[in-house]
């Protein structure tokens, strides 16, 4: 899809996208959230959700010990659950994670490009990405320049994503739109398409540092975007919902949304991820509840 040849071509394309019916999107998301998922389907959904979790820790207070225990948890969440999809950390902790998850299917994802604000010169951002990739990151979570996007300098955002993508090499690129700062669902749709035509392998809702983070309506709009992109004969792009998803019930709602919007092909850790930290314990507690027939408690889960 060659719409990135000039700023005006890109603008014409993005503003030519159909407008989002905000009330309709909210209604649709709410209706799907009310779906009841029980017994066997629920068991499957819980395990699927666990295998889609990007177990995340992005705090200034992260220590090697904490990150190592996070990796151990991602490899073996316990209670018979499958491993998580990836661990997501700051770039300086990537070498440690690579060592800690070696030999397991767990991927190492690193945030980069001056996360979470994205306010740094381009060469600094690219150096950030290259060092994370060199350290062994399998996936890079970049943030877009929201300032440029909101002031309409789409080509600038697009070129940055393209540059980061080429700096990634083999690593998969997740582009964080930070929808909480974009304001409207229309902007979220434009940002989704902008990221996809510029080379994103994944589009991700938020950094988790801004409220609101992931919401069902915004995820719905992004899932529609990846579905339409794929239907237009382009590659299949993944979606990652991150921030604010804390309960197993929420996670299952997202899975229903994925299935009903993008389709079953996206119900795969390669194409849908949930960025979370405390969610995993709630998923495990629900899993234990289904196995033992009684409610579990935080005393029986790890303290992360």
């Amino acid at each position: 899809m060659d719409v990135t040849s000039s700023d005006s071509a890109l603008r014409r394309f993005l503003h030519g996208l159909p407008a989002v019916d905000e009330a309709g999107a909210r209604d649709r998301a709410q209706a799907l959230a009310g779906r009841s998922v029980k017994s066997d389907a629920k068991r499957t959904a819980l395990d699927l959700a666990i295998s889609m979790v990007d177990l995340t820790t992005l705090e200034g207070q992260d220590t090697p010990g904490k990150v190592r225990s996070l990796c151990a948890k991602a490899r073996r969440p316990g209670h018979g659950a499958p491993p998580a999809a990836a661990v997501c950390v700051y770039p300086d902790l990537v070498p440690l994670c690579v060592e800690a998850v070696a030999g397991s299917p767990v991927r190492v994802a690193s945030v980069a490009t001056a996360f979470p604000s994205g306010r740094a010169p381009l060469d600094v951002k690219l150096a950030d990405v290259k060092s994370a990739v060199a350290a062994g990151a399998d996936e890079i979570d970049m943030v877009i320049d929201r300032g440029a996007f909101l002031s309409g300098r789409y080509l600038c955002v697009s070129e940055e994503i393209t540059a980061v993508k080429s700096a990634c090499g083999e690593a998969r690129l997740k582009v964080i739109l930070e929808t909480g700062e974009l304001g409207t669902l229309d902007a979220a749709r434009r940002a989704s398409w902008l990221a996809m035509v510029s080379g994103a392998d994944f589009i991700k809702t938020s950094t988790g540092k801004v409220s609101p983070a992931a919401t069902l309506p915004v995820t719905l709009v992004m899932l529609e975007a990846v579905r339409d992109f794929s239907a237009a004969g382009e590659r299949r792009v993944g979606v990652k919902a991150a921030g604010g998803i804390r309960t197993a019930k929420d996670a299952v709602r997202y899975l229903v949304l994925v299935n009903e919007t993008a389709g079953e092909e996206w119900l795969d850790p390669r194409y849908f991820r949930i960025g979370a930290s405390s969610l995993l314990n709630d998923l495990l507690m629900q899993r234990v509840r289904m196995e033992t027939g009684r409610y579990s408690g935080p005393d029986y889960m790890t303290v992360d």
Binding site: G293, R294, Y295, S296, G297, P298, D299, Y300
Partner: protein
């Protein structure tokens, strides 16, 4: 609750009390509450196992803050509950009268006794550790002392046969030492329990310390008794056979304590057994002379 002439009745919705908020049951179910003559009084929320689960989560969340308050402060808060209850004396009396068929004077007596019971327990808050704790004599260079600590989250099945005094007499001892609780109110008398929850919500008691569920004890109690995050279960409101099953469920899960005290009139002096049943003892050996 009849309408005055010419005015449309403003009917009250009785809901659950979980984590400081008043939600409807997650299941959307209600049941009819009837007065002592079988007349319709109101609909009340019929709690499901998921409401019980949410209530335990709320109680666990509140436990840290409430147990770390000073004993003196907890006493003040409990006394404040009594103050606010006193202000709603007439409302409680009318609900108790309609529910039980007591006379006006008897209903007022029950409310007064319930308020006095809060005050009695409020006074205990900063005296428990003196009575239950202490310095132990040991043959070695140590200071050895024991302090009582709250055991955690309690599931309290309120007595079925008492509209207010019995309820207060099982809730206050569960929280006075810093514990938090999930209460299943009497199925026959749920309305005074929800009014009590409104009092608790407006008297400085942090949300989640007491969570009030209305509905069928046989439906909710087994989930609470087997819940791995509940530390104590008071089976007062369960009929004999059910209480046995609950004790088995409690033992078969996480060995939670089961409070099963011999029945006594709620008007009698309460004694300390119930209150002390929610305590654990921590003993510390502190080296001296080194």
């Amino acid at each position: 609750m009849a309408a005055e002439a010419g005015r449309i009745a403003v009917r009250k919705t009785y809901k659950l009390y979980i984590g400081g908020a008043f939600p409807r049951s997650e299941s959307g179910r209600t049941f009819e509450v009837r007065d002592h003559e079988g007349g319709f009084l109101s609909n009340a929320a019929r709690a499901s196992r998921k409401d019980a689960r949410d209530a335990v989560v709320a109680a666990r969340k509140a436990f840290g803050g409430w147990s770390e308050r000073t004993a003196y402060n907890r006493g003040q808060v409990l006394y404040r509950v009594a103050e606010v209850m006193e202000g709603r004396r007439d409302q409680f009396a009318s609900e108790v009268r309609l529910a039980t068929g007591l006379s006006d004077a008897e209903a007022l007596d029950e409310v007064d006794a319930a308020v006095d019971r809060w005050v009695w327990y409020a006074g205990w808050a900063d005296k428990i550790s003196q009575v239950r704790g202490g310095v132990n004599p040991v043959a070695g260079p140590f200071v050895n002392f024991s302090v009582p600590e709250p055991s955690g989250v309690a599931a309290v099945l309120a007595p079925q046969d008492s509209a207010l005094l019995g309820l207060v007499s099982v809730v206050a001892p569960a929280i006075v030492a810093g514990g938090t609780c999930v209460v299943v109110a009497s199925a026959a008398y749920p309305l005074p329990a929800i009014t009590l929850a409104e009092v608790l919500a407006t008297s400085d008691l942090p949300g989640g310390v007491v969570n009030m569920l209305t509905g069928q004890v046989a439906e909710i109690a087994p989930w609470l008794a087997s819940h791995m995050d509940v530390n104590t279960v008071d089976v007062t409101g369960a009929p004999g056979g059910l209480a046995d099953d609950l004790a088995v469920a409690a033992a078969g899960s996480n060995l939670k304590r089961v409070l099963r005290l011999p029945p006594a009139a709620w008007t009698a002096e309460p004694g300390v057994d119930r209150m002390f049943g929610y305590l654990e003892t921590k003993t510390v050996w502190h080296p001296i002379g080194l």
